[in-house]
């Protein structure tokens, strides 16, 4: 009986893990293909396209060299870094005080304010009224403000942070108040040092959002010098006016396909680099309350 069930168990595990292996391959193969495409030397590509596998000694870094030496790519990277850092900073500076104040149960008007915020989360009037405000009323065309400010506070992130602050025992705050601190000082001196994990997690979520944002830059930025990485990548992938972004026909060291693949990977790289930190936090369950959407 026990031998039979252990054999069944082994078969079951084989099936389950075999399935997971297939899932893994489905995720990895497209990424693998892009990596191989970016590294395929021009002569190999001309002979028979991108091979499924290449030995490392056959790799060509020409596509990366070309992407990084053309001025448009480093400039777009700098734009993306500026947008991401200032956007994340602004988002946290607005989200932290908001969620801290709203986590105070005794605050008169708390329910009304929460309802007003929740209402904007549930009711969207669409793109055009925001576009009129940002582009016409505020005149933020060709300004990073148009990308940084309008999405600065996320309702989901505010709610997650609120729930975290609600979990901090009242006694800690009360002790500080007895020592003569006002509530802003309680926040900056006592609460914030206790909140590093949630600040890091929410901050990374905001940063990912700003790093990936491509629609609003397309909408509000006409100046080619201001384009962030995702917009540049989109222009490269679509192949419109390619010579503006890469010098692909002057020094033929890489195929257009390799250049596109290299651009994809270079844009992905910072994301993949911070990803382990994000992942560590959400597997701990910090964010379970906030991933309802």
């Amino acid at each position: 009986m026990s031998r039979l069930s252990s054999r069944n168990e082994r078969g079951f595990q084989l099936l389950v893990n075999g399935f997971l292996l297939i899932v893994l391959l489905v995720i990895v193969i497209p990424l693998w293909r892009v990596i191989m495409t970016s590294l395929t030397p021009l002569d190999v590509y001309m002979r028979g396209g991108v091979p499924f596998f290449q030995w490392p000694w056959e790799w060509s870094w020409g596509a990366y060299q070309q992407m990084l030496t053309h001025p448009s790519f480093p400039r777009a990277t700098l734009n993306s870094v500026i947008i991401t850092i200032s956007g994340t900073a602004l988002s946290l500076c607005l989200t932290v005080p908001l969620s801290y104040a709203l986590s105070t149960r005794t605050l008169p008007g708390r329910r009304v304010i929460t309802a007003l915020i929740l209402f904007t989360f549930l009711f969207h009037v669409g793109l055009i009224p925001v576009y009129l405000l940002v582009a016409k009323t505020l005149g933020w065309t060709d300004s990073f403000l148009a990308i940084i400010v309008p999405p600065a506070v996320g309702v989901t992130n505010t709610l997650v942070m609120m729930r975290f602050f609600e979990g901090i025992p009242e006694e800690i705050k009360e002790a500080a108040r007895i020592d003569g601190a006002n509530d802003i000082q309680v926040l900056t001196r006592i609460i914030l040092p206790l909140s590093k994990p949630i600040l890091l997690t929410i901050g990374l979520f905001y940063a990912v959002h700003y790093w990936n944002e491509f629609f609003t830059p397309m909408l509000y930025l006409n100046d080619q010098n201001l384009l962030p990485l995702p917009v540049l990548l989109r222009n490269i992938l679509i192949g419109a006016n390619l010579s503006e972004y890469v010098e692909y026909d002057l020094s033929r060291v890489a195929s257009i396909e390799s250049l596109k693949a290299a651009a994809v990977l270079l844009t992905m790289l910072p994301m993949v680099a911070v990803y382990p930190w994000i992942q560590r936090h959400f597997t701990k369950g910090t964010l379970l309350g906030g991933v309802k959407e």
Binding site: Q13, L24, P97, L107, V125, G126, V149, T267
Partner: protein, 322 residues
């Protein structure tokens, strides 16, 4: 005369109590004054960037002229809404939007449940962690990068899948610009990107199941499959209900960024959703009022649906969506 005196006499204590309560409230507010200081920046933000757009939405009922501004433009009533409901693209937009939402839900949810069950059952911890890490990753990648990945697979000239088709003697297919293939590509690429991330909720629900239930079932000789069917699946039903309701509540959000990056003129008829149409007609064709009317229509329907979904969730799963 005496009547009015007696009435005011009866009101006096009530007025006193009211004044007392007002004073107490004023004291509480004063005690919390620093919290209101903390609220000023973010509430200013909400007023400007969330409530002014709602005010601007009045141009849905006006004939907006940029020179006259939002307030100065003349009222036209429901003209733009009628124009939209009567237009030939109304049906097409609704069909496409609902199709993408429903297809992503109907195919994406079982995929996430199966993956979550498999991760939950696997005994190899490191392998399981590797699967989780790699399947969550695409959620954090933008749709522009997804376009790059999809081109590497689907491009007619050098995409891997088309290479395989050619090797087997077939004709390369331009998947992204083909009217037959665009919709499957949208749904499958969304599943590829989001399934891993969606497992988080199901895995949390599976972790919450009492392990004694499994042990008791094993003692009774129930096979692995029966344990999944009778214990694991019932354990995640509340999450399934919540996710379904939430997705039905936002059924008109079909994934603007995805469609916007992937679509092109040849596939507009099967790809165009409300949001992409609003962008083109408003920003590119300057039909600000018509586009706002369509956006507002979507917003009102969305609000009604999500409130209904929340009500149903409260009744079915004793939980709220937000």
């Amino acid at each position: 005369m005496s009547q009015s005196a007696s009435v005011s006499g009866a009101r006096a204590p009530a007025r006193l109590a009211l004044r007392q309560r007002a004073r107490r409230l004023a004291r509480t507010i004063w005690k919390h004054r620093w919290f209101y200081v903390l609220l000023v920046p973010s509430l200013t933000y909400y007023l400007i960037f969330r409530y002014i757009p709602i005010y601007n939405a009045q141009i849905a009922f006006k004939e907006f002229r940029p020179l006259l501004g939002v307030e100065g433009s003349p009222w036209v009533g429901f003209q733009h809404f009628q124009a939209f409901f009567r237009s030939f693209y109304f049906n097409q937009l609704i069909v496409n939007t609902v199709f993408f939402s429903v297809a992503k839900l109907v195919l994406g949810m079982p995929a996430a449940i199966i993956l979550a069950l498999a991760i939950n059952e696997s005994r190899f911890r490191t392998f399981r962690a590797l699967v989780q890490t790699l399947t969550y990753l695409p959620h954090f990648v933008s749709w522009v990068i997804m376009l790059g990945l999809l081109l590497a697979l689907l491009s007619p000239s050098s995409g891997m899948i088309n290479e395989a088709i050619k090797a087997l003697g077939g004709q390369p297919t331009p998947f992204l610009t083909s009217r037959d293939w665009f919709r499957p590509v949208v749904v499958l690429s969304d599943i590829w990107k989001e399934t891993g991330w969606s497992t988080i909720l199901y895995l949390a629900a599976l972790l919450g199941i009492n392990p004694e239930l499994y042990e008791a079932a094993a003692v009774d000789g129930a096979s692995r499959w029966r344990r999944i069917w009778h214990i694991s699946l019932p354990g995640i039903v509340p999450v399934v209900v919540l996710v379904t309701l939430l997705r039905l509540g936002s059924i008109l959000d079909a994934g603007f960024n995805q469609i916007f990056v992937l679509y092109s003129v040849p596939v507009y008829s099967v790809a165009d959703i409300i949001d992409t149409w609003v962008y083109r007609s408003g920003v590119l064709d300057f039909q600000f009022s018509l586009a706002t009317a369509v956006g507002l229509f979507k917003g009102v329907i969305g609000l009604i649906l999500i409130l209904v979904a929340n009500r149903v969730a409260k009744r079915l799963a004793q939980q709220t969506l937000f």
